[in-house]
Symmetry: C2
Subunit: 328 residues, 2 copies
């Protein structure tokens, strides 16, 4: 199956992952729908960036707009939700409401309206909590350190349950640390690479907690989008959970240094771990991506050096220093 003529819904389609995915889908000849709370999607010329997309303006927890948006869909990428482990611990009831009730609202709409629909969902490396050895594969124990991680895990289980009960087809992608263009500025703190690039471009210090020795698996959003597109069409992905990462670990500090070097701006500033960050810190994390490679033939392609250079180049084009972004 390809995406040509398929009705494809992206919930949260104006967020960081969502907007990158929507742009990729526009190149496939799919009939793209977006469900989003945000409006307008971008400052300036909406038509040029979202031309041809059917836009549903509303909240993922509102059954009426959700039913309208999913009706007749072939594939749904459910990216709407609230991000951030520290934020979720500060407001667990809000995280529960948006992420858990939101997904169940979507699933109930699909159950009654779109039997057989394929749903692809971004879970997170944060379902694992702290892992003893790296790389981590999909059968490692799950012990999240945040309400966000708990709700990602329960979301995975809802999806698997609805496949079992009602014949929906689901694929879960446990994404590591994505970065890339089109991160919304108000969400920048949830994508640390993007945030650091933003800080460097403004010649601000890049704040590293402690030594910054913890390994991370940073992945360019183009690679994540590729994984979503493959998962959305491959029946071999049905009912499966896959890690989606670069498969390579570099330290937090190395990543920050790379950005300072590539942008020729900013500087590294070490500070003590703040308590709300320390308590959700997982230690090293590197994804074992052999399962998705074997089963779907997917592998990350963008090396972090060129990925970071790409984002810096785009930021520079936007002349951020003069015109801070207002929605892209």
């Amino acid at each position: 199956m390809t995406y040509a003529k398929k009705r494809v819904l992206v919930t949260g389609g104006l967020g960081f992952m969502g907007f990158n995915l929507v742009r990729a889908l526009q190149r496939t000849d799919a009939r793209v729908r977006v469900l989003s709370r945000s409006w307008p999607p971008l400052p300036g010329n909406v038509e040029s960036t979202l031309g041809g997309v059917a836009f549903f303006h509303g909240d993922i927890r509102d059954p009426a707009v959700v039913e309208e948006a999913v009706s007749g869909c072939d594939v749904i990428f459910h990216l709407a939700g609230k991000s951030g482990p520290a934020a979720s611990n500060a407001s667990p009831l809000e995280d529960l409401d948006v992420n858990s009730r939101g997904l169940l609202t979507l699933l109930d709409a699909c159950r009654s309206l779109s039997a057989g629909v394929k749903i692809v969902f971004p879970s997170s490396r944060l379902v694992y909590g702290s892992s003893d050895k790296q790389p981590t594969n999909e059968s490692a124990p799950t012990a999240p350190l945040s309400a966000y991680g708990i709700h990602k895990w329960s979301a995975e289980q809802y999806l698997l349950l609805y496949q079992r009960l009602y014949g929906l087809r689901v694929t879960i992608l446990r994404v590591t640390n994505p970065y890339g263009p089109f991160q919304r500025p108000e969400q920048n703190r949830y994508g640390v690479v993007n945030w650091f690039i933003h800080q460097a471009m403004h010649d601000q210090p890049l704040t590293v907690y402690g030594e910054g020795a913890q390994l991370r698996d940073y992945i360019h959003i183009d690679d994540v989008v590729d994984a979503f597109l493959v998962a959305g069409t491959a029946s071999e992905a049905d009912g499966k959970i896959f890690n989606v990462g670069s498969g390579h670990g570099i330290s937090f500090l190395e990543m920050a240094e790379l950005i300072v070097r590539a942008s020729r701006r900013g500087s590294i500033q070490h500070v003590e771990w703040p308590p709300d960050a320390a308590v959700v810190e997982t230690g090293d994390f590197v994804a074992d991506t052999s399962f998705i490679a074997e089963r779907l033939g997917w592998k990350a392609k963008v090396p972090i050096e060129s990925g970071v250079a790409d984002v810096i180049a785009r930021y520079a084009q936007l002349d951020l220093a003069a015109h801070p972004p207002q929605g892209c």
Copy 2:
């Protein structure tokens, strides 16, 4: 620590588990509080059964009544919630709201009002889903077959998270299939042994799905209450998850036959598995209870034969056939 003079809250204290626990606590000289939506607690003489208990009438999702109830507590047994895997799959949003939002409301109240409080929570064997080999210990994979099981797992994780974040002390008991007196009649279907005893006493058929060969681990409520009381005082239980079961497996059919034999009434009727029950059926389950035995010295004591005979004797006393129960 003993319970004497301790302020102890039982949420859901008029439910099956809760009411049995409250009666046991009344014998310990604890200052017992009950938070419950149900009122009046029992028909007839309330004073004689709940004398000395401070009653908070309200919903576990209402922060105002929850804050009032937890204020100054030393130990909280959080038994309020909605039961039943098949029911949860029919209404997952309701299960989410009562069980997940309810617990987070309680935890947030404890966080701001009662730092250091001990919370004991009944989880369920249903967090495991289907297990390949029996008995099942606490490190077996968790893959629930119902929204109820998913929300029990996330509840466990909330509790562990709040211990980690805020210094609450929590113990989680994964209870198998409890039975015993004081099951509320409107909830009888969730406790199959009690339901079968009720049916037999009314000379009704006991409906066994399929062959009834699946092994179950039935446990008398007195044993469960003992486990709660031990967990509530033992610091060795803090931050731990324990199976609470008899440790013995008998088949569903054997249990039904035992009830017919002991009550000298009723009969076995085999029927096809209804779809909503088949989909949540886990197959055999027997709890490995060695962890709680080693760590807390707890072990189930009531054999199923005498346990069932005890419940039948109590039902007979109540002269159920003439006066169907209205709240006990």
